[in-house]
Symmetry: C2
Subunit: 281 residues, 2 copies
């Protein structure tokens, strides 16, 4: 799947003028675990949507995710120099370019979500664009980021419920969009994959907090230990390391259970849930 995603971005971006922004876009969408793309293509496969079509929303969500990382890494945001073991976009180029790279990647995400070679019906394409906008915007991902920033200057650390709300926006909304894109393309019921995604998204974030404690920067490919250093409330600070691990495992189980309507066909999505809570990067 990784190679397929890379190849698709290559093809699409080959039509763009050769500017620093296009170079930065190509750089920002390369690499990564492609969890969101896999959610799209596996969800699509379960609904008999061909990969040639599913690759469009799969790359849409990867473009959206890549834009969020480029902007997150900016000096005025998290100020990170390293991402996936490589210099971040504003370090390799400059801040202005990084702003524009993120902006163009967000637009590209919507172009890919609404692309006529993606979902077969216009109903599905319009709905993919609409739901992606809601998941990405001021009531979804950006809301999560806004709450995250507000928490940094708050007098009291976040409660566990507040962390969950924050993470449902910051990572959960896009993960849910990815998992449900397949049934949306087929105009089928999204409920089982929505339930799967809700548990998976939370498991993903619990594991992220665990990696920040147990990981090392080399294998994580990014700075670690930042949360504890900043006195930030996380799943680990609330639950302790062992209980956080147990919680992540329970959430992965819950995610797998939601897939029962798909039987054995959902094996790869069950594997993905296991991967999410055991990964070290």
């Amino acid at each position: 799947m990784r190679a397929r995603v890379e190849a698709h971005f290559e093809t699409v971006l080959a039509g763009f003028a050769d500017t620093k922004v296009t170079q930065g876009m190509r750089y920002a969408v390369s690499g990564g675990k492609r969890i969101r793309a896999i959610l799209v293509t596996e969800g699509a496969r379960l609904h008999d949507v061909r990969l040639e079509r599913a690759i469009w929303p799969a790359c849409a969500i990867e473009a959206l995710h890549a834009y969020s990382l480029v902007h997150d890494d900016l000096p005025c945001m998290d100020d990170d120099d390293l991402r996936r073991g490589q210099p971040t976009v504003h370090v390799k180029w400059d801040e202005g370019t990084a702003v524009l790279v993120g902006d163009a990647l967000q637009a590209l995400a919507f172009e890919m979500a609404a692309h006529p070679d993606g979902a077969e019906t216009s109903e599905a394409r319009a709905e993919l664009a609409l739901t992606l906008a809601r998941a990405a915007g001021g009531q979804g991902m950006v809301l999560g980021q806004a709450l995250d920033i507000a928490a940094e200057t708050a007098q009291t650390p976040l409660t566990l419920d507040q962390i969950i709300t924050l993470q449902q926006g910051k990572t959960g909304a896009l993960i849910a969009w990815a998992a449900t894109a397949g049934p949306r393309m087929a105009r089928a019921d999204v409920t089982p994959l929505q339930t799967y995604a809700n548990a998976l998204g939370l498991a993903f974030q619990v594991r992220d907090d665990i990696i920040d404690v147990i990981g090392d920067a080399t294998s994580a490919g990014k700075a670690v230990g930042k949360d504890a250093g900043a006195g930030k409330a996380t799943f680990v600070s609330h639950l302790g390391l062992e209980a956080a691990k147990a919680r992540a495992r329970a959430l992965a189980e819950e995610a797998s259970d939601a897939l029962s309507p798909y039987g054995e066909d959902a094996g790869p999505l069950r594997d993905l849930a296991q991967f999410v809570v055991t990964r070290t990067t």
Copy 2:
């Protein structure tokens, strides 16, 4: 139209959580000339699309435009403290908030373009989202901005043709989307309004360059004289002031002529073309 646009944004944003980002979004979409919204609603009226529906793409393009201004004004971009006579978003709040406000406004633009209460058919909604993404992204508006940044560090000033290419991306693509949204909603021929918009977009930019030379900051509501101060190639630096004015007038005529299939009904769009080339802000 201004009051209608303001009211629609109020209604939509009332559903958002009260964060600095939502406050910044509300601030960024208030005021302005609403030229793009008027293009949408007038184009829609010519194709018998009701205002209740047209207001959605009208606000979509205003949200997209507002996001581009918020990011343009950032210190790492144009570094402007003043916009429409008011402090820019990063001055009133902070840079991180301004990045997120722009990001959320871009997502909101796509939510509004694809909204089921907007265009009646899913074909039209999917096409509005797709064409907006193309107009906004790395082959449209962001490309224009990338070329603009590249020009600042280039050894030789831009030629007139290069300025035209840059402006077609930076402002022309969104103006064309706005003017053609009406026929797209009605699934009608976009050609007359596309031709109108191409001339109008160029006229708009020629006039912007004229305002930068003849305007004063108080009436313009933003810094003026920046282009000449920076030794930047503009329509005025190439043509001279009087020839630039003549060019703007000729483009406004050209725009008006393209409206002939609509007869007298297109009066407001003809007036808009005249306004664009006589405005002082």
